[in-house]
């Protein structure tokens, strides 16, 4: 983990309020695990705290990596005004990502919801390069905020669900999963808590990994802002920290 002023190479709105941001710098040398994140200081002074954003794609050759974020509040709105050539204060890579231990020929199911989709892209690339067969189920609110469909399609079968039915099947990813009955050895998921919860209830048949979000202070494990109970001790003192023990956990490990 390091802190580096990285330079913006590319920055574009790729769907409604969804931005793709590529930055370069030597910090990329440390990046390997899909599902890790960086902690970005957007403005000088305000906003005060860093913003956690997932690593969506790593490009070691160019010492660059890509993030995909949604313009939401103060921080991401300010971030969206940055231009190529501007520099960005990046701390990372942080946390523990998805394990990439499936073997050639095994099957992986990747399920993403909304702005939880980005980290699955690097994961999918790494799985595919190992010869794993990958199926994606990506859920979005509506077609205008969907992104990276082509990119995912190039890596494996890709099913889309939108809540309003404007793209792919109508409904949630869990509806889509029940319908398609996809075969897999392990599943990997990132998205809103409600989706992860529904998934844990739907996909009881195999090993799964889920990536969590929590409001963070330090992002490195020191402030205890991002603590969750363990399912093994749901009301006791056992805990995990999303920032340093996660954000990826084995399905069933953490109380959602």
């Amino acid at each position: 983990m390091r802190k580096e002023w990285m330079t913006i190479r590319y920055h574009q709105e790729i769907a409604h309020n969804i931005y793709e941001l590529e930055v370069e710098g030597t910090l990329v040398q440390d990046m390997n695990s899909p599902g890790q994140f960086v902690h970005i200081k957007v403005g000088e002074g305000e906003p005060l705290l860093r913003r956690p954003i997932s690593i969506a794609s790593i490009n070691h050759h160019d010492e660059a990596f890509t993030m995909i974020y949604r313009k939401e509040g103060r921080g991401t709105t300010l971030l969206s005004t940055k231009k190529p050539g501007d520099t960005l204060d990046v701390l990372g890579p942080l946390g523990h990502g998805f394990p990439v231990h499936l073997e050639k020929g095994q099957k992986a199911l990747l399920i993403g919801g909304g702005i939880g989709v980005p980290p699955l892209y690097e994961l999918s690339k790494q799985l595919v390069s190992k010869g794993v067969e990958v199926t994606h189920v990506l859920g979005f609110q509506t077609s205008s905020v969907a992104f990276y469909l082509k990119e995912f399609s190039l890596l494996g079968t890709t099913h889309i669900a939108t809540v309003d039915g404007t793209l792919g099947s109508k409904g949630f990813v869990t509806d889509c999963l029940r319908e398609k009955n996809i075969d897999y050895d392990e599943y990997y998921s990132c998205g809103p808590k409600v989706m992860l919860k529904a998934l844990e209830e739907t996909l009881t048949t195999a090993n799964g990994y889920i990536s969590l979000e929590e409001r963070m202070g330090c992002g490195i494990g020191a402030c205890f802002a991002c603590v969750c109970h363990r399912q093994s001790d749901p009301t006791g003192n056992a805990y995990v920290k999303v920032c340093s023990d996660g954000p990826v956990f084995k399905a069933g490990e953490v109380v959602l």
């Binding site: 963070m216 402030c223 802002a225």
Partner: protein, 312 residues
């Protein structure tokens, strides 16, 4: 003799910079980023007799130039802190100030008694000001007599100097400082967080699960400076100042109003290297101000000029 070294009760500091309690865990995470031996001291996270999980999440939220936290004193308990955390810190050449918390006097006394016997604990910091625990706590931090009695009780059992951490959520900070002085405190640390709240824009509900939380960061710096300015004029105890410190200039400001050393809290989250950076930047600041030792600046804001109670 270093330009930054400072002697305080129980503490020989290489420099006046220490991470504030709760903002540095027990040092483990930051020790992977830099050598903790460069720090003046470390104020470790609050310890209670038994392990605590703390409050539900969300536990932090952002405000203008500040943040709110309601961690709720999560910690592995006295035994856990002594056996693993303090043990691990022994590899570093840095004084430790142990933050002592609890709900009732007996909690504080128990933690203080045992903590103070650990070889690398050089001083205690009595946390009578945590705004995030529902039971009891408040009275310790806001009623002078109660604070005095608690200080006395802890002083009786502690084998190292005791600093008392004051809450800014009081009508009369000087009365609180005098009370703990009378109770036998060896020093004061101030300020803890102001109590605040922030809302989710759509639902209107408080963002923190605990509803209210402690406000820290640059937003509270003017309140911290003012309170130290007042206390330094009325109490002879050394003060470790904190509240919004982010830079070497901020450190100079706190020393100027009478602090003898400072703690850096929230800024560690924004820049994990902030403490070593400040330590690195300070000598240049001293040059610019034309002083050799940082304590030459101590109390220069005060009506009667310098307050050089504690020397290098």
């Amino acid at each position: 003799m270093s330009r930054l070294s400072i002697h305080l009760p129980g503490l020989q500091l290489k420099n006046p910079i220490m991470p504030a309690s709760g903002c540095f865990g027990f040092g483990q995470e930051y020790s992977r980023l830099y050598d903790l031996s460069c720090l003046g001291a470390i104020m470790i996270k609050a310890t209670t007799p038994l392990p605590r999980f703390g409050n539900p999440t969300p536990r932090v939220a952002e405000t203008s130039s500040g943040m709110l936290n309601a961690i709720g004193l999560q910690n592995p308990g006295l035994e856990g802190v002594i056996e693993s955390e303090l043990e691990r810190l022994k590899q570093f050449d840095v004084p430790i100030i142990a933050n002592v918390a609890g709900s009732v006097t007996e909690d504080y006394v128990q933690v203080a008694k045992e903590m103070s016997t650990v070889s690398n604990v050089n001083a205690l910091e009595l946390n009578i000001s945590c705004p995030n625990v529902k039971t009891g706590g408040i009275a310790f931090g806001t009623i002078p007599e109660v604070a005095m009695e608690l200080t006395k009780a802890v002083k009786e059992v502690s084998s190292v100097p005791v600093y008392v951490k004051l809450s800014p959520n009081v009508s009369d900070i000087v009365a609180m400082a005098k009370a703990v002085e009378q109770g036998g405190a060896d020093g004061i640390t101030m300020i803890n967080t102001l109590i605040g709240m922030t809302l989710d824009e759509k639902t209107g509900l408080p963002i923190l699960a605990n509803k209210t939380g402690g406000l820290s960061g640059p937003a509270i710096k003017p309140v911290a400076l003012r309170m130290i300015y007042e206390v330094a004029q009325h109490v002879d105890l050394p003060i470790i100042g904190m509240g919004g410190i982010q830079s070497a200039q901020d450190v100079i400001d706190f020393i100027s109003v009478g602090a003898s050393a400072v703690a850096v809290g929230t800024a560690n989250f924004i820049d994990p290297f902030v403490c070593p950076t400040i330590i690195h930047d300070l000598p240049e600041k001293l040059d610019a101000l034309g002083v050799q030792h940082i304590l030459e600046l101590q109390g220069r804001s005060l009506p009667n000029g310098k307050r050089a109670t504690y020397s290098a």
